[in-house]
């Protein structure tokens, strides 16, 4: 009796542990070469990360939370006391500075048949592959300023800032968090340099220039000397 409860406890712990050791990953660099950019980060969707927590007859949805790394000192909780995930927005958390904000929600990605990355070469399939494989945080530049926008707003991130992300599995009927990944490794957006600082000085002179200038100068000198010599010999 006791041993079966112990086994069950270990099993449950094992499942939670399996979820807890996984983190959101940045999208494959050979696929998305321009990542992270100044204001966006493309993350791989959580393939096969939550499969141990899924029940066949229930519907689930995945939330993506983003926060600045500096906010982890203030608050990194994504649920309230009753297990419901936070509904914080970009504006409420000052862009992730005060705590995590909800950046997206989407369906659980299909673990059994993930998108084939090699299909990216086919122009007809590339949109679907990209949509199924990754999610771009910071993609929507207009939702912050649109008063009619009702869905989850995913505004551009701040440049030269470190962010962390987390996926949360939610049961859609109960509205309670079932599983969550760890916070991802810190991902920093790009930094820009000013064009004023670009140095346009060409450096040292090329060999061609020195050859042409020196030889031509010598030739002109010799010509003038020859001209003077012939004029003076003609005068005398």
């Amino acid at each position: 009796m006791c041993s079966s409860w112990v086994v069950l406890a270990f099993c449950c712990l094992g499942q939670l542990c399996a979820d807890q050791s996984l983190k959101p990953q940045i999208a494959a660099p050979q696929l998305a070469t321009n990542n992270p950019t100044l204001t966006t980060v493309a993350l791989e969707k959580p393939f096969c990360m939550f499969d141990s927590s899924l029940h066949p007859n229930k519907s689930y949805v995945i939330y993506l939370y983003a926060m600045k790394e500096t906010a982890s000192a203030i608050s990194s909780q994504v649920t309230d006391n009753s297990g419901k995930p936070l509904d914080s927005t970009f504006q409420q958390t000052s862009g992730g500075q005060l705590g995590p904000y909800k950046a997206a929600l989407f369906d659980v990605p299909n673990c059994a048949s993930p998108p084939k990355l090699a299909d990216v070469g086919d122009v007809n399939k590339v949109s679907d592959v990209l949509k199924q494989y990754l999610f771009r945080v910071g993609d929507d530049g207009t939702c912050l300023y649109d008063p009619n926008f009702l869905a989850v707003c995913n505004p551009p991130l701040a440049p030269d800032t470190t962010y962390r992300f987390k996926y949360v599995l939610l049961d859609s009927t109960e509205g309670i968090m079932k599983a969550q990944t760890l916070w991802s490794d810190p991902i920093k957006t790009r930094r820009v340099k000013l064009p004023l600082k670009i140095d346009t000085w060409p450096g040292r002179r090329s060999g061609d220039m020195i050859v042409i200038t020196s030889i031509l100068s010598v030739l002109v000198f010799l010509l003038l000397a020859g001209f003077l010599a012939s004029v003076s010999s003609a005068v005398m």
Partner: protein, 260 residues
């Protein structure tokens, strides 16, 4: 004192031959410089905006020098055959002036070529591409020229930026202040286009998926024709001047030996 008859004939023959070559080279120089000035690659607005367009000035001088060489070579041939002191003196003086101009053209072309570095075009692209608020008419003209040239360059040569598309990500620019990074990590002309002139896949282009954006830089497409122009003007002019040097020395010697 006069040289022997044969010696004079040989010298005359050599001078006439030398002048014929100068005449032909003059025409070739004019033709070559007209070709460069006509700007077949459409790169002049880039140079005009950098205010470093002296290789075009060198080509313009080359046009007139080439024509002058042709005219003077005819004068030289007539003067040598007639053994006329006046004609040959005029020939020598005018040739010296033309020589000085051609020397200026060669040195200008080869010196200015050194200024055409990737950083020069990068700075200009970042500051002027897509600039809508201009300080004055000159500024507006330059900005429009740069924008139009870069757009055509990116479309036709399938390239992006000076060293690569990362130029648009590494630096702030006028383009960046007009367009959000989320929608335009780089200009849409950097994307691979379909037959209708719109990007094949915009998301693929924004993410940098290989095959949907132009990943190489435009510097080769810019510097190739400009280098050809600078070297064409400079080295061909240099070759003409070396030949003209010997012809002129011979003519001066011949002139000093003519009896009245």
């Amino acid at each position: 004192m006069a040289k022997s008859g044969d010696g004079i004939r040989i010298l005359q023959g050599l001078l006439v031959f030398g002048n014929v070559v100068i005449g032909m080279c003059g025409i070739a120089l004019t033709a070559e410089c007209i070709f460069f000035v006509s700007d077949p690659h459409g790169l002049y607005p880039l140079l005009e905006a950098t205010e470093n367009d002296d290789i075009y000035a060198a080509a313009w001088i080359g046009i007139f020098v080439g024509f002058a060489l042709f005219a003077l070579s005819i004068l030289g041939i007539v003067g040598v055959i007639k053994s006329s002191r006046t004609l040959l003196l005029v020939y020598i003086i005018l040739m010296l002036i033309t020589y000085a101009f051609e020397m200026a053209s060669c040195i200008t072309a080869v010196t200015q070529r050194d200024f055409l570095t990737p950083n020069l075009f990068l700075k200009q692209m970042l500051e002027r591409y897509n600039k809508s608020d201009a300080d004055n008419n000159n500024d507006k003209w330059m900005a429009e020229g740069v924008t139009k040239t870069w757009d055509e360059l990116m479309l036709q040569k399938h390239c992006c930026g000076v060293r690569g598309p990362s130029d648009w990500q590494d630096y702030t620019s006028t383009f960046r202040s007009n367009h959000k990074d989320a929608d335009f990590p780089w200009p849409h002309n950097c994307c691979v286009m379909d037959a209708q002139g719109s990007p094949v896949n915009l998301d693929g282009c924004k993410l940098g998926v290989p095959g949907y954006y132009n990943s190489n830089g435009c510097y080769d497409a810019i510097s190739g024709p400009l280098n050809t122009q600078a070297w064409g003007v400079a080295w061909f002019g240099f070759a003409i001047l070396c030949w003209t040097f010997f012809v002129l020395l011979g003519t001066m010697f011949y002139w000093s030996r003519i009896e009245y």
